[in-house]
Symmetry: C2
DNA sequence: TCAATAGTGTCTCTTAGACACTATCGT
DNA sequence: ACGATAGTGTCTAAGAGACACTATTGA
């Protein structure tokens, strides 16, 4: 790949390029998203608004889009290697008042126990906000409400047929804990027996041998057999097979 | 949305932003992708190589990323409203020798009958190339081989559980024709009876009343009930339910 | 009447949902 | 022994694959 400088016909006016993160976790039986406050200088767009964490690609620092997302996630949460997936790119002339911009939305799933929230250089505060349906209880900057909705759609769609919720728990976890996470995200009860048969059929978890003592009958602890990728189930969880 | 100019802290060095298209069709019992030849000036990267059609976002012309993709598709093929879906964004420091660049890959499905190929301003020739497995029979410019593989993965994955192949046919079409398209893309035979039961269960096609005369028994003609979105099937086509 | 393709009926197998049942803990 | 939670077994229903069967055309 030879580097041939050809300044001719490269566009001189280029869009702004950003990465935004929908960092989701389950705390207190609810799905939460991590939000940061935008700086309050009036020269900034949406001063003081809540927003998804994110920022511009640093051409000198970031080697790839994914690197950039990973860097921002680590800056905000200290979490190094979570589940991280690109959801979509959204670009238009008017989504940012500062000019034509494209953002690259990533979905991150992390166990809430792991997190140490850090107020980044560019964000006064970072806080977990509970999800209500498709939204959060505060208005968001830019088009971040629709970006959040995109990320939630993706999560809910994939949860119907993948093992994604396992990435919302610290290992090892029990099957009742995992089932509970499915129920929180899907916002509907899941049948215990069918749930377990499904999991075992995919053979993606293995018993550690230990069990969690809770005062009642202890539950067996499991860990993931493959830590990087989710497992795909042959059918969805939909009740009555619809 | 007030427009507040704030030149401070906007990045001065910005990535190149492009859109690339994997335009697929079925011709002569094979899946084909539309490729264009890159200009031959030696100052250009990959002069004379085959590439996916695409180009830079025009900040002054394109309102959104999707608009840009639609414009490029119409320029190359004359097709106005095909099935068009964003597959992924790929960005890194080294995928384009001219600098840090992000491309936005779109998958387009069109009926080959509809197409009038047009050599664009920036492309000496546009040609259909047959797909062999994950690849095409010529080397491609940039990282377009992996982009093509991404688009094919997406198509093949979705075809297992959606009605996407219907967008590769001109309406009205017969069920044997539709089945044949599934078989071409999946590269495996599909069982006739199960195939038809599946389609009818989703209730997304309707008989026109007419039928196609072929010399043997005529086949009933169908049209799509909903032209914009594919239908999702409850299970995949995988043989032996795996 | 025959070849060829379109279209249907029937059987089986797999798997999810429902739900009742058993198992194991602390008190 | 009992309450509570963990975990299993069994029945049923839905849908897919397999495949044989019927239907409709031209020659």
């Amino acid at each position: 790949m030879t580097l041939i400088p050809s300044p001719a016909q490269l566009p001189t006016v280029r869009p702004l390029v950003t990465v935004d993160l929908a960092i989701l976790t389950v705390r207190e039986h609810r799905l939460h998203v991590l939000l940061v406050r935008r700086p309050t200088e009036p020269a900034e767009p949406y001063p003081g608004h809540w927003a998804l964490p994110g920022g511009f690609i640093r051409v000198g620092t970031d080697q790839t889009l994914l690197d950039c997302a990973q860097r921002k996630l680590a800056e905000k949460t200290g979490v190094e290697s979570p589940y991280l997936e690109q959801v979509a790119a959204v670009g238009s002339a008017d989504r940012d008042p500062r000019g034509w911009s494209v953002t690259h939305l990533y979905l991150a799933l992390i166990p809430s126990n792991d997190v140490i929230l850090r107020a980044g250089a560019n964000a006064a505060a970072a806080e977990w906000h509970p999800i209500e349906g498709d939204r959060v209880n505060v208005p968001l900057a830019f088009d971040h409400e629709s970006l959040l909705a995109l990320a939630l759609d993706r999560l809910r769609a994939k949860i119907e047929y993948t093992s994604l919720p396992a990435f919302l728990l610290v290992e090892p976890f029990t099957l009742p804990e995992l089932q509970h996470v499915y129920e929180v995200v899907l916002d509907r009860p899941v049948e215990k027996s069918a749930f377990r048969k499904r999991l075992f059929a995919q053979d993606f978890i293995e018993a550690t041998g230990a069990s969690r003592e809770t005062g009642k009958r202890p539950a067996a602890l499991y860990r993931l057999r493959y830590r990087d990728k989710p497992v795909y189930f042959p059918r969805t969880f939909s009740p009555r097979g619809d």
